[in-house]
């Protein structure tokens, strides 16, 4: 497991308290899990993602990550409709371990883009992890 100093952060990203990150590109948001999350989970062996077109409220479970240690729920940090899911993860879930910020899980069309502002900044997320 990584020490705090070894953890990677995306400086432009927003974070949820459940260790998911959100990036924006135009009208859609991408969602993934943080380096801390993948490091805690260990080797990820299976990713279960929703269907395109499904809608979830903020905080609702939209999928699961299965690692050699446990199954973890994924909670959507911003409510919205699933526009696409990362097709590469079905065959190579290990990408999430090797490149957590490059391995987006889903792209959503947010129902309320303002919700982004209520997520943690990278500074606030660092503080959360340092407790």
């Amino acid at each position: 497991m990584k020490g705090f100093d070894a953890l990677l952060f995306g400086e432009e990203l927003r974070y949820s308290e459940d260790h998911e990150w959100v990036s924006t590109s135009g009208e859609t948001f991408q969602v993934g899990v943080s380096d801390y999350a993948q490091d805690q989970m260990g080797d990820i062996v299976y990713v279960e993602l929703p269907e395109v077109g499904q809608t979830f409220a903020k905080g609702e479970q939209f999928g699961t990550l299965e690692s050699v240690k446990a199954v973890s729920e994924l909670y959507l940090p911003v409510g919205g409709e699933i526009v696409s899911v990362n097709p590469a993860l079905a065959d190579s879930p290990e990408q999430i371990n090797s490149d957590p910020y490059g391995s987006w899980l889903v792209t959503i069309k947010p129902s309320d883009p303002e919700e982004l502002e209520r997520l943690l900044s990278v500074a606030a997320y660092r503080q959360l992890l340092q407790g």
């Binding site: 497991m1 080797d43 062996v45």
Partner: protein, 485 residues
């Protein structure tokens, strides 16, 4: 440290069955057909399955060699927390193998199996006395099926009152199968976080208990090995809002004869006969998860149930409110035989003593190790104690490394990374089986491994090195499982 299992010349290598034998080799000779051959329809013909060609001795040696690699409770300490891997007295195996019981056909008329029915009735009575809950069904085949049966009873009770509810409260320290069992029954699990001491607070339950909620599922002692001391107040809160309380009895080994679940406010509870009541488990073999309920809920229990009829017993199917059958015939009958033998041979006094010793052993381990490994919750434990990976981080050692190193010292590792609320959890349940000498040796080994983690962490990272095989690639096994021969 002595007692480790070193590979030696008598520990056989053994290939897969598909890699053994040779074309045309057979295990038996089939006599020549004495009837004329009949052509099969073409759609039933094909290449056939890929079975290896083996002789009888090939197969016997294969499985005998594999069995020699096995590690079980009969070989040594098996401290898998939350699993209660305790020793199962051999007399109960012998009872279960009694031909009159083992060979009784389940379709025999009641009058011809009075002994079997009496045994089931007696076990129902015994489990009712242990839980304080008078209605018992022996049918469920395992703990999770007991949970599902309990949830069906929750649903039937609410339906009988005309109440339509769909939420179920489940603490984060409940057994992992609870949410799945409730969801199978159409309920939506609502998680509740345990309090700072690792136990559930009455306030947390009161905050979410409402008129949409069927009740709560509580594992007590919980998966942190802690007793839910607020259980009575929590049950009052749930009952006051028209809900029921489910007690997951998987950890009953800690409290037999000490805690009366009915007096704690539990309405429905399952017991794991394959943990607490003398059936070997861990190999996926048959278990049993009888469900015990209050008198009020008895009419919803699965059918048939064994009832008294004059001087004898009969199976009663006439229960219009029953949730129905949950298992064919009488459940896993041989497991019931073992449990009844265990309950009768122990008696009330020694069942209680078994629980007391199980708790004493866990407390002894906890106190002996708390300076070496960080305790998850520094408070009195019940039948198991949970440590976190705390300082292991500083040495870049994981819980998995520590567990693997235990194999080098001849021990099955404890449960790790569960419960999820503890980072890098190491969950040890010694059970009442172990003597103080056995515990002292295990404690000495763990302390030695802790010292190694500080002084020579590579020993842990490379472990196991003294086992038949080294560190297995669990990730690859999960990502690219090879499921054929």
């Amino acid at each position: 440290m002595s007692g480790t299992v070193e590979a030696n010349g008598m520990i056989q290598e053994e290939p897969l069955l598909w890699e053994k034998g040779s074309r045309g080799r057979q295990g038996m000779s089939i006599p020549a057909a004495d009837v004329p051959p009949v052509e099969l329809p073409a759609e039933l013909c094909g290449a056939g399955p890929d079975f290896p060609d083996l002789s009888e001795v090939d197969v016997v040696r294969h499985y005998t060699r594999l069995s020699a690699w096995n590690y079980g409770v009969d070989s040594g300490l098996y401290p898998l927390g939350s699993c209660t891997m305790k020793y199962n007295p051999k007399i109960n195996e012998r009872l279960a193998a009694t031909p009159e019981l083992a060979a009784a056909h389940p379709l025999l008329a009641d009058s011809e199996v009075q002994g079997c029915l009496e045994l089931m009735y007696g076990l129902q009575e015994g489990l009712a006395a242990i839980t304080g809950l008078p209605g018992v069904s022996l049918q469920p085949a395992a703990g999770a099926q007991g949970e599902l049966t309990g949830m069906l009873i929750f649903a039937a009770w609410h339906r009988s009152r005309g109440s339509r509810r769909n939420k179920i409260l489940i603490p984060d320290t409940a057994h992992g199968t609870n949410p799945a069992s409730a969801a199978l029954c159409g309920f939506r699990p609502v998680p509740i976080a345990s309090g700072p001491d690792g136990i559930l607070t009455t306030e947390a339950v009161a905050a979410v208990m409402d008129d949409e909620t069927v009740g709560i599922m509580i594992t007590n002692p919980n998966t942190l090995g802690l007793f839910e001391t607020n259980i009575r107040e929590i049950a009052e809160v749930v009952h006051a809002r028209g809900g029921l309380v489910y007690g997951d009895g998987a950890n009953m080994n800690a409290v037999m004869g000490v805690v009366n679940p009915a007096l704690c406010g539990v309405d429905v509870m399952h017991l794991n006969l394959h943990k607490t009541f003398s059936t070997p488990h861990g190999g996926g073999g048959p278990g049993a998860g009888p469900v015990c309920v209050t008198a009020e809920l008895s009419r919803f229990l699965p059918v048939p149930r064994v009832v008294r009829a004059g001087n004898g017993y009969r199976l009663d199917e006439d229960c219009p409110d029953s949730v129905g059958r949950v298992h064919a015939f009488h459940g896993n009958f041989s497991v019931l035989v073992r449990a009844y033998g265990y309950v009768l041979s122990m008696g009330a006094a020694f069942l209680k003593r078994a629980s007391q010793l199980a708790v004493l052993n866990a407390a002894y381990l906890k106190e002996s190790l708390k300076e070496s490994l960080p305790l998850a919750y520094p408070r009195p434990c019940m039948h198991e104690c949970v440590f976190s990976d705390g300082w292991l981080h500083e040495h870049n050692i994981t819980t998995l490394d520590l567990a693997k190193r235990l194999i080098d010292y001849g021990y099955h590792p404890p449960t790790i990374y569960f419960p999820l609320v503890v980072p890098g959890a190491i969950m040890i349940e010694p059970t009442e089986t172990e003597s103080q000498q056995d515990l002292d040796r295990f404690i000495a080994v763990l302390k030695q491994i802790v010292a190694e983690a500080r002084n020579n962490p590579e020993l842990l990272r490379q472990a196991p090195t003294r086992a038949k095989l080294g560190r297995l690639d669990e990730t690859r096994a999960a990502r690219q499982p090879c499921l054929c021969g």
